[in-house]
Symmetry: C2
Subunit: 98 residues, 2 copies
DNA sequence: TGAATATATGAACATCTTTTCATATGTATT
DNA sequence: AATACATATGAAAAGATGTTCATATATTCA
């Protein structure tokens, strides 16, 4: 049934956009566009505490928008999805065109 | 200061994506892509009560994503933003490509 | 092994969001 | 004017979310 399929897709799309709907998460994603970064680096860039960042990184990881790698004690996060940049960029375009 | 400007923009972008991050709202927007629709029509399409739909329409209107017109007792809502379709479409693409 | 550092996690708290219910407002019809 | 219908709105209830705090886990280095 096609209507049902649409409904399910839209539900998933809402879940996807949830990742971009919080300023902490979108700022995390934004600061990963150019480089991978460690948790503490992100925390200091956003001027927030490490635990808050870790919690948000977990959500982003569950949504498969970021991935990580360990190097010694440090864990580096980076984008894991080609669409992230486009989605954010489209949002920025929208805001700038107002 | 450019960093500050970025931060503010990203905050606004998060606000924008909030509209698309709830399944009720994204389904409302989606069902307005083809046609304008009355509040009760939307409510019955989504199988939700009229008040819930009205409350969500108010949020979408405040964000300038929908507009409305009155015809007698009926109020018709329609999209008020060219980007809405593109944003939803990009989300759907992302989901379908997983 | 023990101390130091980086990150993750669970629980608690505060805040925000969504829905429902009751009712108000606006319009048309008799 | 009274009634019926469509929508909006405020308040309350229920649920979801984000942050902090304390602490656990993993790794390195002395």
């Amino acid at each position: 049934m096609n209507k049902k399929k649409n409904e399910n897709t839209l539900f998933d799309v809402a879940e996807l956009f949830k990742n971009f709907s919080d300023s902490t998460r979108i700022r995390i994603l934004y600061c990963l566009i150019e480089n991978e970064r460690s948790v503490s680096e992100i925390a200091s860039l956003l001027n927030m505490n490490q635990s808050a960042i870790s919690h948000q990184l977990r959500l982003l990881k569950n949504s498969k928008l970021v991935k990580n790698r360990r190097d010694g004690k440090t864990i580096y996060y980076s984008l894991d999805d080609d669409h992230v940049y486009n989605i954010i960029y489209q949002g920025i375009e929208h805001i700038n065109e107002r």
